[in-house]
């Protein structure tokens, strides 16, 4: 089972760093119940093994003047692999698009976008996204409010599964 190469202390480290990525190593060590040196070694190992992909400050979008968040559901005309890749490349180049997920079902892609205001999103939509070749149809939905936005993974679910399958 995936993640089984990690012992309980490693998983505890990941959970703590997911909750507070700027914690000092000594604080982390005391929380997970080992001393600082082995704790740091474990963190380095987890980083190098790719379990930890990075650390990011979570910045308030509205405070920074990004008032608008939009989900865009995109359908393409062609779903040939080359055309999918081309579209994905465009999404990576558009700064207002923060996430681009390819889906199954009738919708080909869902895009999470941010923008300073509605008009700048509209101009992106009409001048960039809708004009992009191979785009058949785009449905956009404005985010009215955000009830939950938990970054990362539910470690409690993981622990429960490991306990059950032990």
């Amino acid at each position: 089972m995936a993640g089984s190469k990690l012992d309980p202390i490693d998983r505890h480290i990941l959970a703590e760093l997911q909750a507070d990525g700027r914690m000092t190593n000594v604080e982390l060590a005391s929380r997970v119940g080992i001393s600082a040196p082995p704790c740091l070694r474990r963190v380095r190992t987890l980083e190098e093994a790719g379990y930890i992909k990075g650390y990011h400050a979570d910045i308030d979008a509205r405070e920074m003047g990004f008032e608008v968040q939009v989900f865009a559901m995109v359908r393409l005309q062609s779903q040939a692999e080359a055309d999918l890749s081309t579209f994905e490349g465009r999404c990576r180049a558009w700064p207002l698009v923060r996430e681009c997920h390819m889906l199954n079902g009738e919708i080909d892609f869902i895009l999470k976008c941010v923008a300073p205001d509605l008009s700048s999103f509209q101009s992106f939509l009409t001048e960039q996204l809708l004009k992009a070749e191979n785009v058949a149809n785009v449905k956009t939905s404005l985010v009215i409010r955000c009830a939950k936005d938990e970054p990362g993974l539910p470690f409690d679910v993981l622990e429960a599964r490991l306990a059950k399958h032990a």
Copy 2:
């Protein structure tokens, strides 16, 4: 304009910490071109003022055994404020639901969910989400692949706007 209370150095700090939230303060200071003490003071101020909401390690979901990511589009029977709040409360309590956004248009909510495998998501869907009162309709879309997943905000867009409106 929002974010204008921040000077270019503050914005630079935010951009750097968004890219690498575990950078040491001296490294950060040298990158933004000031010495360490004022840099730390600025970071503390930005944290207290709410510009920085937190720091999180970005952990590889698949490595940890969360193979499945799903978007669920939810329609409710009643959109009265009390019923919306009740549903949002449920979403906050469900660990598999990582994000819950209220939308305009025909879809009331979009949920981003993770799960260890398809069957555990299916059981959540049928036993929890679909059985929740007031839920009229749920359309789910499995994420086939993720082309872009940039946490945070496009600071280059912000700088361009500030330069234009200067």
